[in-house]
Subunit: 193 residues, 2 copies
DNA sequence: TCAACTTCTTAACAAAAGATAATAAATCAG
DNA sequence: CTGATTTATTATCTTTTGTTAAGAAGTTGA
């Protein structure tokens, strides 16, 4: 269970046993049923979770309308990283799309480890760089590709295509920056049947 | 001159004199005339610059069409940070919008300092977190606001409004995710005169 | 199994945006 | 100063998207 999380960390940094144990002792297990909320608009984020299994969506609510902008899957972190950094009340919500098993720790624990261990300071940098890269590429795609091109690129990426099989299409629409109705029309244009 | 850069660094981290000198000895001065290129599509980014004065735009070219997605101003870093992280040929270009004075250093110098000094490792994390925050907020705005709302938010932010006085409107249009013609129409709708 | 709910598609209409081109305004360089 | 270039606006037309609503298809849970 926690090994799965330790394995994830090695994607960014090698940890000695004592370093790992310094984090491990602060970990707790959690489950969240489908449609449950990890955080809701207005709350202040204090925790980061590791997704052992399941999936979540991140969305913003504007006048009764939900805009899903991000998805989280197993073997990745899930949480309001921006909220943890700024310590401001969150403008977003994170909801389970499937039943989730989680490993939970307070963000403060992580920042404390940043001070105590160079390895975690390195991890913190690698993590932020990793998240930056994802956003930078995504932003460029949003600004340079048309909705139709974005959809084609999305289904052309094997990892993303698998997402479509697990996530309702309406959420993918808003991830791509269009309405569900519009995505349905784009699909009809592309897959004439 | 270099003091201006050192001052910038203190926004992220406090450096001792020896720490600062370890970086300072690798710094070089550069100027770039208006319309000059800091990096062009296809090149591999190896340098980061600090903008002493002037401004630049970052753009992508797609079938003869340029999409400007980011601006750089004095007292900030300018460069292809993603390219430095991935070490892959760049898909973007950075061009001076005004005559620029720069302080230049190789990205390798920075990563070497990450290893040598905890203070720079901390700086690297803070920098990545800072860049992440900017992108995260921007992505959310792109996905949740209409073009008109994005323009209103843009001119409603004093710091951004000042940008409008220095940057041709066509570039701001594409920064906001619309064509120059469309931004002109949005402005007419909003400022009826 | 079956009713309730969710999701996707389709239609019809209005609104907005893209493309192209022409003109006006502003800026720049010799 | 002035011709050349760059930039912004406006018009026209086409395409796309948003909105709303209805119906079909699929899923879920008691």
């Amino acid at each position: 269970m926690v090994d799965q999380f330790r394995q994830f960390l090695t994607r960014f940094v090698d940890l000695t046993d004592p370093e790992w144990q310094a984090l491990e002792k602060h970990l707790t297990s959690k489950t969240m049923p489908k449609k449950g909320f990890l955080i809701q608009q207005g709350q202040t984020a204090t925790e980061i979770n590791f997704l052992l299994s399941g999936s979540c969506r991140l969305f913003y609510e504007r006048d009764g309308n939900e805009k899903t902008t991000y998805f989280f899957f197993e073997n990745n972190l899930v949480g309001d990283y921006l909220g943890c950094l700024t310590n401001q009340p969150s403008t977003l919500s994170i909801q389970a799309l499937e039943d989730c098993k989680l490993i939970c720790f307070r963000y403060e624990v992580l920042t404390a480890l940043y001070q105590q261990f160079p390895a975690y300071q390195l991890f913190g940098r690698k993590l932020a760089e990793y998240l930056f890269m994802g956003l930078d590429i995504r932003l460029a795609e949003l600004l340079t590709l048309s909705p139709e091109e974005r959809y084609l690129k999305f289904i052309g990426t094997p990892a993303k295509r698998k997402i479509m099989e697990r996530i309702p299409q309406q959420y993918i629409a808003s991830y791509l920056g269009v309405t569900p109705v519009s995505l349905s029309r784009i699909r009809r244009r592309i897959h004439p049947s």
